[in-house]
Structure formats: C-alpha cells, structure tokens
Symmetry: C3
C-alpha cells in the first residue's frame, strides 16, 4: 500500500516537473508540522520548489486559472511531502480533515473553487479514499513572496498500519 | 430536545424565506463534512440556496451591512443543515469550536465582526448553550462565485444522547 | 516553571508598553476560548489594548513592517493572556498547534511571513519548546476595526502539571 501512495505522489511530481525530495525548507521561526494525538497540522505552503516560488502574481490578472491550479498542486504536494517526512510514510494518513486554500485574486476573479479543485484532485489521486477532505477556498489580497496560492492542511493519522 | 433545536432551525429558515431541506450540493471534489473522533469539520459555505448564491458582491460597496448579515445567516444555516445530515440530528452537536467568517469587503469596510455577529446569533438561537464558539472574522478580496460571505466551522459531537 | 513563563510574558508586555491584565473584552456574541478534550481554540485577536486598537491601517501603505510586527506581538499576547485566563496558567499550554496570521496588506506588500515571525518569536520566548507551532500567514483586504493584524490560535493543554 505504501508503494502505491508514494508512487502516485511520484507520478504527480513527474507530471509537474518538480522534485519534492530532500528537506523542505520553511522560512521563519515555526514548524512545518505539529502533532497532537491523532491529528497533524501542516503549516501554510506556498508553491515553492527549492528556494523558488514557481507561481507568483494575481490569479485572474497576471496568472491564468490553469497556472493557479498548477500552483495549488505544488502547494498540496509540499504538504504531502511534509506529512511523509513527519509520519515516515504517506500510508499513515488516515484522512484529511481540512484544507484551506488562499488564492491571491484579482478584484473580479471568482474561481477560487476551481483553483482548489486541483489540490483536491491531487489528494484523491495520491491518498485514495483517505484523500476525502473538507475545504475552504477564499480570495486574498496578497500572499507571502507574492505567491499565487497558499494551502494549509490538517490530517488524521493511523499509527497501526 | 431534538424538536427544539430543529424547530428553532426551521424558524430561522422561515424568517430568511429559504428552505434548507434536501441534499445540499457542494461543488468540487471534496466533502461537506469529515469526522475525526468527536470533532467534525464542515467545508466553507457560501450563501447558496439550491443552485443560486443569494447574496453576491462586496460588503460596503455593492452590499449593505444588513444584506451581508443575511448572507452570514444563510452560510451558517447551511453549515447547520450539513451537521444535521451528517450526525442525524442537531442534538448531537455538543459545541462549536470555531467558525471562520470571510467577508468580501470594500477597501474601507471594517464591520466584519458585525457581519459575523449574525452567524453567531443563529448558532446561539438554534443550539442554545452548545452554540458557544470561538470566531475569526476577516475581510477578503474575493470569494467563490462572487459570494459576499463564506463561513466554515468545526464542531464537537456528543454520541450519547 | 509557571513563574518563568508568566515572567517572560510580563517582560514582553513591558517591552511593548502595554498591560494585558484584567478581563480581556471581546466584541460580539461569541467566546474568547472554547475547549474540546486537550485542545483549546482561541478567537481571532486584533491588536486591541483595553478598548483601543493600537495598530490600524494597511501594512506596506499606512503601516511599516515594524509596526505591523508590533501589532502581531500584541495579537499573540492577547491570545496568550486568554489562554492563561482560561487554563489558570500558561504552564498548562503543552503546544501550539496552529496560528493563523491575517495581515491587512497593500496590493504589493508580500512580507506577511515577516510580520508573522514577530508572533512566532513571542510564542517561543514565552513558552519555550511548547511554543513550537504551525503557521499560516496571508494578506487580507480588511480586518475588523481597521486592525493591521488578526491572529487566531489552537493549542493543546496539559492537565497534569
């Protein structure tokens, strides 16, 4: 089962053309994940690969829907990579309780849900039925480093696999 | 006790002039609720009734405070309807841990708390002392489908009623 | 140990030049904290001291990075004061699961993480290794009462100290 989730993760990474291997750097004096009981919180992820934010600017103005969706995929792949790092394997993810999807939006850009769909699809593809999740998508005015999308996540953990 | 909460819910629905019966549709590839232990997460709700978002536009510009408050009520009624669907009865709601209230705001509109108050009042009216909750209210730049308000919620569940 | 955390809290308060003693007022019909099991949710805090919001306006336009950081410190100090009130002592904070940092931003202000760093540093300073946390920082369009920053928080609680 581990091979399946990890190999699906690798498949998405290959599609995107990015590697999510190695330690994921986060800025600031905080942690990428914190565990409490069977819950694990993942900090807000921008579409950073290595030290570069790969999609920047305002959806609906500088950035197309398609590129914003790509940004959402990179954000959620980072979150999955952090879960794998923290838990030892993606197989320990029992369910995804919440993702919050913040989209840097033009004044009249109202497709935040369509942007978030790209992240939701990655979760379902990689985690199967454990990829079920609730979601909140909003259009914000700016994001750190001019990122187009930021996504945070709360998951539940299965320790007895 | 069930009659009381459900009848109060029906009373608010009648005041608003909307029905929240039947399956609530949500867009995208995610779930309206996810349960973990005694917690239940509800996805962000816009003021959609059937397939129509009934309050759209920017609070403080296109939309009055009063209409934004109506939007907030519809959002939180949808969240309550989803809780009733998922749990079988509103009586299983033990407490509301958090609501996040996102208000599509004009640049100088600073009454996000007053908008959120309308949602808080519905929670208290319908759930009584179980309607106690923490709250975060912010002014965002856009929301899905040009909705004026979006609200998500986390509740705790009592399984032994 | 209590003396240490509380005295560090007092040290930050003195640095800021504000008192966080006495009952903290919140507006609206909601609660400042709600507990569920070993988790405690704290409502979104603006940088209010007494009845005055001490830092207002848009970061990157009306407000410098330094003043926005000061706002973030006041927000998180309020959250800590509410935790101390609710739990009896800051020593009962086991870890901080999540802070969400909302920064009222100018269109081109992209230093939301740097603003949030100020809050993160207070958490580490006051709580030591229990100050570890995940974080989400976004740039919003407005906030209640024109506040520059709003921060909410979820913590875990240790009842056996």
């Amino acid at each position: 089962m581990e091979a399946t989730r990890q190999s699906k993760f690798n498949e998405v990474a290959a599609d995107l053309g990015y590697s999510f291997e190695g330690e994921i750097k986060i800025g600031g004096s905080y942690s990428s994940t914190v565990r409490n009981g069977n819950e694990i919180y993942v900090s807000g992820q921008v579409p950073r690969v290595g030290s570069t934010v790969v999609v920047t600017g305002r959806a609906g103005a500088d950035v197309t829907l398609e590129d914003a969706q790509k940004a959402a995929k990179v954000c959620v792949m980072r979150a999955l990579a952090l879960l794998a790092q923290a838990l030892g394997s993606l197989d320990r993810v029992e369910s995804v309780l919440r993702i919050s999807v913040f989209v840097q939006s033009a004044a009249d850009f109202t497709q935040q849900s369509e942007v978030a769909d790209a992240a939701s699809e990655v979760l379902h593809f990689v985690l199967g039925k454990s990829g079920v999740h609730t979601r909140t998508s909003v259009g914000v005015y700016q994001l750190p480093k001019n990122a187009t999308v930021e996504i945070d996540l709360i998951a539940s953990v299965n320790d007895v696999i």
